[in-house]
């Protein structure tokens, strides 16, 4: 049976995690369909049709899908679920919101955040903040799965030529409506797919001080992240949080500044290729996972680092 991948997008662009989710899908089956539900979202469907490995794109273009509300989207998934052996989505807030709802309507289990595909029915997923890996086998059809995108190498965004088919909208449960959104506007790369990330913690002491990280972020084309403590203290907004209950990242280079390295933070970044820690406390647990550490006052080290990078 084919695999269906639910795409996340803003009616204009695909979220980058789709490419990694397609990669996981191609490990299951050769026939990979992408579902694009939105409003005035044709460009998104066209972009999805170009992704390597995709055989068909199904587009459901209707005002009820303008905002990604869980209730109508889950109903749409249910309307096509019978055709598929697996339904996949990136384990983003979007995916985690919609997928379990669809699974319950289908009376099947959902499998969250898989980091490896062992076979068509067996998957690996981190539990306990990544301190253990569970290998799980599911007997349900379809298998509803959210994918830890950092664990799968993305497929090419170009080169494919899938067909695009219209899918009629499903019944609208009409029990929720969109009111407003308040999104962080930035020119920096997306945290979940950035090659370099520099994150600040409680040691930054204020939101104002986060500006100190911007020079380095500019030079390295880095995304800026944060620990929960920095978010809770109001230094930066919630979308910056890296960790077990925030975003999972795995860049080539992760620079942790004034972050102690609690288990919950490590859960979100310990799969980074190279980790750098800057902390004034040489006992900070972050140094146990760092490839390179500097013990020192960040307010002294950060300007020096910025200067050294410019050299």
């Amino acid at each position: 049976m084919s695999v269906l991948v639910l795409a996340e997008h803003d009616n204009a662009e695909l979220s980058p995690g789709l490419l990694n989710t397609i990669a996981a899908a191609t490990q299951l089956e050769n026939d990979v369909h992408v579902l694009v539900a939105g409003h005035n979202c044709r460009p998104v469907a066209e972009a999805a049709a170009k992704c390597a490995g995709v055989t068909k794109v199904r587009i459901s273009d209707d005002p009820r899908y303008e905002h990604p509300l869980a209730e109508p989207l889950a109903a749409l998934l249910v309307s096509v679920a019978g055709e598929y052996g697996h339904i996949l989505v990136a384990a983003s807030k979007f995916g985690k919101n919609v997928l379990p709802r669809a699974a319950a309507l289908l009376d099947v289990a959902a499998i969250s955040d898989i980091s490896a595909v062992e076979s068509a029915d067996t998957f690996v997923r981190p539990i306990y903040a990544g301190n253990a890996l569970a290998t799980v086998q599911s007997g349900d059809t379809p298998k509803c799965i959210s994918v830890r995108t950092t664990a799968f190498e993305e497929v090419a965004a170009e080169g494919g030529s899938a067909s695009i088919e219209e899918l009629p909208p499903a019944e609208d449960p009409a029990m929720s409506s969109f009111v407003s959104q308040d999104l962080t506007v930035t020119d920096r790369p997306d945290l979940s797919s950035a090659r370099v990330i520099i994150s600040g913690g409680r040691g930054m002491q204020s939101g104002e001080n986060f500006k100190l990280l911007e020079g380095i972020a500019d030079t390295l084309h880095a995304a800026i992240g944060a620990s929960r403590a920095a978010v809770d203290s109001g230094y930066v907004s919630n979308d910056y949080q890296v960790g077990q209950t925030g975003k999972i990242v795995a860049p080539d280079l992760y620079i942790a500044v004034g972050i102690s390295g609690a288990i919950q933070h490590l859960a979100g970044m310990k799969d980074s290729k190279v980790i750098v820690a800057i902390n004034k406390d040489e006992e900070a647990p972050i140094f146990q996972v760092a490839d390179y550490g500097i013990v020192g006052d960040l307010f002294k080290v950060i300007p020096e680092l910025e200067a050294a990078l410019r050299d």
Partner: protein, 249 residues
């Protein structure tokens, strides 16, 4: 309006968990247990709704072993009015938990169910969304702010790009994110009072729910460990190493 709050007993967030040698799971013997932190936030929010006059009663429900009574007592000590234990010795999957909770909802008829967004042990992030589906109710997942209106609730949600506000028809299911509130500590007098609050017990059979598992856990293993690297003395040395040794910049 009643508010139902499902809470889970988990290994305390500060414990460093160990995988069992036989790879059947993680070590739970003699390990400190606690209420799942997101559930504490859910209890706190429900109590605040009662204090603000929106809710008449806060009911804490937990599915688990008899020891989950302790977790329910902790919720009662925070200020929940009454508890329900659904006894199950085997750990259940989110779909089964959601079915049990649906049966409890049908008995109690709450106007709102507030769950945590995620169990910090199994890291599922599923139960609330599944319960909402089974009830045919709308869902406000990852909430950082609630505002109750006339027959509806506005929920501000933490999403990947920032914040989003939805309006849901009531009754509804909410799951909590970290910024919704800061849970209170139970005072000593309230801990004493909690011992006298009603706590009912029932079983999945009493509720008529089939909880047979859909997923088999084949093994639980330890992830590859990262080892500590080297300390460098200066920013300049760091940049040299990142360029010539690690080759990441």
């Amino acid at each position: 309006m009643k508010v139902l709050v499902p809470i889970k007993r988990v290994i305390d967030a500060n414990v460093k968990v160990r995988v069992k040698a036989d790879q059947s799971g993680v070590e739970t013997a003699n390990v400190k247990m606690a209420m799942n932190p997101f559930c504490e936030i859910a209890i706190e929010e429900a109590i605040r709704l009662r204090e603000a006059g929106h809710a008449s009663e806060v009911i804490a429900v937990s599915v688990g072993e008899t020891s989950s009574q302790e977790t329910i007592r902790a919720a009662l000590a925070m200020g929940a009015d009454r508890g329900i234990l659904v006894q199950s010795d085997a750990p259940l999957e989110p779909l089964s938990i959601a079915k049990l909770l649906k049966a409890v909802v049908e008995r109690e008829q709450p106007g709102l169910v507030i769950l945590g967004k995620q169990s910090i042990d199994s890291d599922n992030n599923q139960t609330g969304q599944m319960l909402a589906a089974l009830l045919g109710w709308p869902q406000g997942a990852f909430a950082s702010k609630l505002a109750i209106g006339d027959g509806k609730i506005d929920v501000t949600r933490e999403i990947d790009g920032g914040l989003e506000t939805l309006s849901l028809k009531m009754p509804a299911v909410i799951t909590t994110d970290l910024r919704l509130n800061e849970p209170r500590y139970a005072s000593l007098p309230n801990i004493m009072k909690a011992k006298k609050k009603p706590l009912d017990a029932m079983t999945p059979t009493d509720l008529g729910v089939d909880v047979s598992p859909r997923i088999k856990v084949l093994q639980v293993t330890e992830p590859p460990r990262r080892s500590a690297g080297v300390m460098v003395q200066s920013a300049k040395e760091l940049v040299d190493k990142l360029r010539s040794e690690a080759k990441v910049i």
